[in-house]
Symmetry: C2
């Protein structure tokens, strides 16, 4: 193992684990549950699914892993709040995008060497990175894992068994 | 920098960032909001605060960072569901424990060398660790950061501005 291989592997494992947990929850939800609000007056699950897909899709750009798959999602699921747009993709369609984006990301993760994970991400200037080398690709990966966990806690509220 | 120093630093930063976000949210909640359920029929915020404190307090043991501070919390906040116990500490008391535990953890984190973060955690046998070296202290840290993010997404629902 090269120097950074083990910690990078741990971070990718952690990301994959949370994505798998999300997949399990999404597969347990009925079509009408996607249209329900996570709590009274809050986002609907379908909006969070679209939001998470758009945020993960943007990881291709920020990690310099090639072109993103669904830039059209940003207008509805990042720039606008829930219920702002009358026409949004179906939950089934979004679940397909979600799987597609995460599978492609995961295979692209493998193309980066451990050292490349420690390089600055594309939203950083060389000067900023020189000042704070912890703002690298690995930090983006952990941040997005936390972001997914955050919304997963909300989505799980729709499951009967979860508290 | 030694080999693992940068990735370990990124993971500790990520943990601290989410703890700080939690502190900001807890400081914005009014005393009566801690007694509210995060959604109808779900856990109360005070229970989640106690639960998170107990889970973080257990990190001293699993990471071999010395004796834990509040083992008495487990019976109420880990072994039992919310509303099972009539007598629980106040939100103010729990917030004090929460700060105490996280501050002590953070200073203990600094006592571990980067390589020690990659060693197996105390709940693993040598044989298991030999089979899967990614099940180390760093993995525990990321898992707990995700766990905190998960419940934070739920707690944030109590804030007017959050969706």
């Amino acid at each position: 193992m090269t120097s950074h291989e083990l910690p990078v592997k741990v971070a990718i494992n952690s990301w994959r684990l949370v994505v798998e947990r999300a997949n399990t929850i999404f597969s347990q939800l009925q079509p009408d549950q996607f249209l329900a609000e996570i709590a009274p007056g809050k986002n609907r699950i379908i909006y969070l699914l679209g939001h998470l897909t758009a945020v993960h899709d943007r990881m291709f750009s920020i990690l310099s892993l090639g072109p993103r798959l669904h830039p059209e999602l940003d207008a509805v699921f990042i720039d606008a709040p829930d219920q702002a747009e009358a026409e949004i993709p179906s939950a089934q369609q979004l679940k397909q995008y979600w799987d597609e984006v995460n599978q492609k990301l995961q295979s692209q993760f493998q193309t980066l060497s451990p050292d490349e994970w420690l390089l600055r991400h594309s939203a950083m200037t060389d000067e900023d990175y020189a000042q704070d080398p912890t703002r690298n690709r690995l930090a983006v990966l952990m941040n997005r894992t936390n972001h997914l966990s955050y919304h997963l806690g909300q989505i799980a509220l729709a499951l009967k068994s979860e508290a």
